[in-house]
Structure formats: structure tokens, C-alpha cells
Amino acid sequence: MNAFVRQAVSVNITPPVTTAASRENSAPADMRMTISKVNFWYGAKQTLFDISLGIATSKVTALIGPSGCGKSTLLRTLDRMHETVRHSRLEGKILLDGKNILDQDVTQLRRRVGMVFQRPNPFPKSIFENVAYGLRINGSKVPMGEAVEKSLRHAALWDEVKDHLHKSAYELSGGQQQRLCIARALAVEPEVLLLDEPCSALDPISTAKIEELLVQLKDLCTIVTVTHNMQQAARISDFTAFLLNGQVIEFSPTPQLFTKPTDPRTEAYITGRFG
């Protein structure tokens, strides 16, 4: 184990989970989502092969792997955002609380499974309206002011924006915009929050804030995050799945994956020999 992995693991506060380290069987029984035998194609090109994973309730699950390994694609299948791409095809089952999401109404599903994207994408509206957006389109009757404040507090942004809620969201810094997008996703109280490399466009300080935030948000919802940053996965996640060429190579509790990888390819990747 090289120095950086040791350091990365030492920051993780979660004690190592001592379940058996078989490849797809290491997560605990309480699953918010279950991905079973998912295959995925963009046109004729298959990008996911026979993926099976469990997403544990109120935990952070990280998907890591080199560029093009399919981690973002896998994440996007979890709220069916892959359907916005023409000529894509998915086979398999994805269960949310025991029900297949592929049979459900997609707008209802996306209210339960929120998503934060790689680059901050606030709407060209005020800070307040950005957060209220999800509630408004769902015809929510909750008092808007309270709901917005609650979400902004959860996203650790309230203190920075409370005096100018009606300014344009584009006046915020990149890190603030990304936290605004998290607040926007949280406002509709999703059960699962998906994050697609949420820090890749941000500076280190903003990144640290968002990492801290994600660890706190576990109590509110189940989190699945894609990252190309292994230290980040080690710092914030409870479970880590390593993907390579569209396949899950290894899925274990995070400390175990980073300290005692069972597959040589995982070890090669986390020690920086490729990727």
C-alpha cells in the first residue's frame, strides 16, 4: 500500500465494516436501491456489462474508475436520465424500495431520486427561485420561504446567501452554485441523491465544503457519487465500487477496497498504476 492510500484511508472516520469481502455480496441488508444484471448500450456500443450492485440506505456509495469506464452512465440509469440520450437501451432491473424504476412514471421517479451534475447548472433565475423550482413544478403547497431556507441550510449555503436571495444565481461563485444545485435537489426531499463528479469543476476549498456536506447529508438521504478522485472516494464514502470497461471489478466497504483490494486490477488502479 503506498503512502497516499494510507493517508486517504486515515481520514475516513467510518470504522471498517467486517462483512465478507465477496465481490457483490458485501453490502448490508438494508438496501435503498438494488441494481441487478444491468446491461446498457449507446446505439450498437455496449457500455455496461451485467452490473449488479446494492445501494445501502443512508450511506455514501462511491463509483470510481478511469474515464470512460461507465461510472457516469451507471449513475444516470439510476434516475433514468440515460433516456434523454437517443438510441440508448437498457436491460436489467433497478429496484428502488423493492420496485422496478423502469416500470414507474419517470417524473415521479426523478422526484424521489435527485441528481447533481458535474458542472453547476443553476437556472437563470434568482437564488430563491432556483431552490423553489422543484417544489413549484410539483405543485407543492408547503410554505415556500421555509422550505427554501431549510434546503439552503442543509446545503450549508444559507448564511452566505440569506441577505440576497433574490439576486441572480449566476452571481454566486462556482462552489456556491454547486451547493445551490444541491439545495435545489434537496428541496423536493429525495430519498436518493445522485452526484456526478460534483467537485470536478471546483477549487479545493469548495471541494472540501461539499465533501463535508455530503457526509452530513447521509442522515437525510442515500447518496451515490461518481468521482475520478480516489482520495475523495476514500474520504467520504462508506462503500466503493470500482468499475473498469463497463464492469464492476470490485465492490466493498471503502476501507477494505482501499487497503485490501481482492482484485489485482483494483490494486493497480488505486495505487496509481493506470487510470
Binding site: D79, M81, T84, T107, Q108, L109, R110, R111, G114, M115, F117, R119, N121, P122, F123, P124, K125, Y133, G134, R136, I137, N138, S168, Y170, C181, R184, A185, V188
Partner: protein, 282 residues
Amino acid sequence: MNPHLRWRKFVSNFMLTMTGLCAVVAVSVLFFILGYLVYYGGTSINWNFFTKLPAPVGETGGGMANAIVGSAKLLALATIFGVPFGFLGAIYLAEFSGSKVAFVVRYAADLLNGAPSIVIGIFAFSIAVHPFKQFSTLAGGFALGIMMIPITLRSTEEFLLAVPRTLREGAMALGASKWKTIATVIVPAAYRGILTAILLAFARVAGETAPLLFTALGNRYWSRGWTEPTASLPVMIYNYGLSPYEDWHRQAWAAGLVLLALILVINIVARAILSRGISVPR
């Protein structure tokens, strides 16, 4: 300095001068026209021009109040006829259609945009004038509206497609349906561009004459309601410019000045709208 280098310097300077001159000519055409209009028409622009009806033949004075109101009515109708088709059609093209349909519609719109306005005029005549045996404001508005459709459609589509994909995904990830995403995020993000597109289409048809000769015809008096022939500034310019009377020539110049000023103002407003306020970063 050797001769070769001297020659190269000469060619360089010569080309610089030529291109500069051409640029100056391109710009000065506008100022030349403006100067001409002000010189000949400026003296005829007075209160009467905006408030009085045309004077009877043989008398001097009078104004073009009926043509100004007529043009306003025609343009209002054209906007009502043309903009909804252009706008909603553009939404379909940008958001729903496949690439094949989009290609066909775009191509058709470009052809329609390039169709000579006189052809639009004769078409509108056979559809909206001939069956009713009546030249009318409605028919004129219809002809101008047809001309607004392709301009509005193409430029609105461009502005809709320029809205970043990430914004669409952001809205859809919150459970917005496709239609809600369009209505609450995409159109608001593009509305400045769309408004500009509509204004420019408006300015483009404001000066059209040929379609109106076939449809709204012209009128020396007030046009009541929407089913009578009506005067309009471009047709007034056409008729007055061809007349043998010195006073009418001056009034034609004045009408040209008013029309050009209107189009300039619309252009400036459109640019101001486009450059102001929140723009979506790409």
C-alpha cells in the same frame, strides 16, 4: 531595400487600402441614404404629417396619419398571424423533432424566407383577397405574417438550441416533464434572443411593399375596421414617389425617413435587449 521587399510592401499597403475603402463604402451607404432622406424629407416632417389625411390632388400640405395607423394595424396583425407559428414551430424543431424532420422544416423555412415578396403577395391575393372580392387590412396582415413565420422560426430555433443541455437536464432531474422544462427553464433562458428575433422579423416586414400592393392596396382616407383597404407607409412611398407632384415627392421622402427611423429604433432596442441582464453562461 531590395525590389522584392518593396513590391511586397506595396501589395500589402494596397490591399489594406482597398479592403478599408470597401468597408467604408459598406458603412457609408446607410449614412448616405439617411442623409438623403433627411435632406429631402426632413422639411416635410411636421405635425401635419403625423395628424392629417393626405391632401386632395392639386393641393399642397396634408399628411399621412392614415398610412401610419394603417402600417401599425398591418404590423400588429402580421405579428399575431406570424409569431405563434414561428415560435411554436421553433419549439417543436428544437425540442421534439428528429433530425430528419428538422432538416426538412428548416430547409422549407429557408426557401420561404428567400421567396420574393411579390410571390407572397400574389399568393395572399389569391387566398385572402380574391375569394372575398375585397382588398383588406386583414389580407395585408396575413401576407406580412407569412413573411414573419420563417424568420421567427429559424432565429427562435437557434436561440433555443443555444440553451445549454445541462439546464435541460437540471430541470428534468427534478421531475419536470419535457413540456414543463421548456416552459419554465428553456424559453425563459432564451427569451431575450427570441424577443430580438421577433423584433427583427417585425422590422424586416415593416418596409415590405409588394405584398401590400396585392392585399391592403392603399387608401386615401381612414380605413375603418379590418375589412377595408388601408393605406400603409411603404405603399404611400411607392405611390407618392411615382406621382408628378413636387410636394408628394417630398412627402414620400418624409415617409421613408419615418420608416427607416422606426426600423433603426427597433434594431437598437433589439440589440439593447440582447446585451442586457443575465445571460446563461455556456
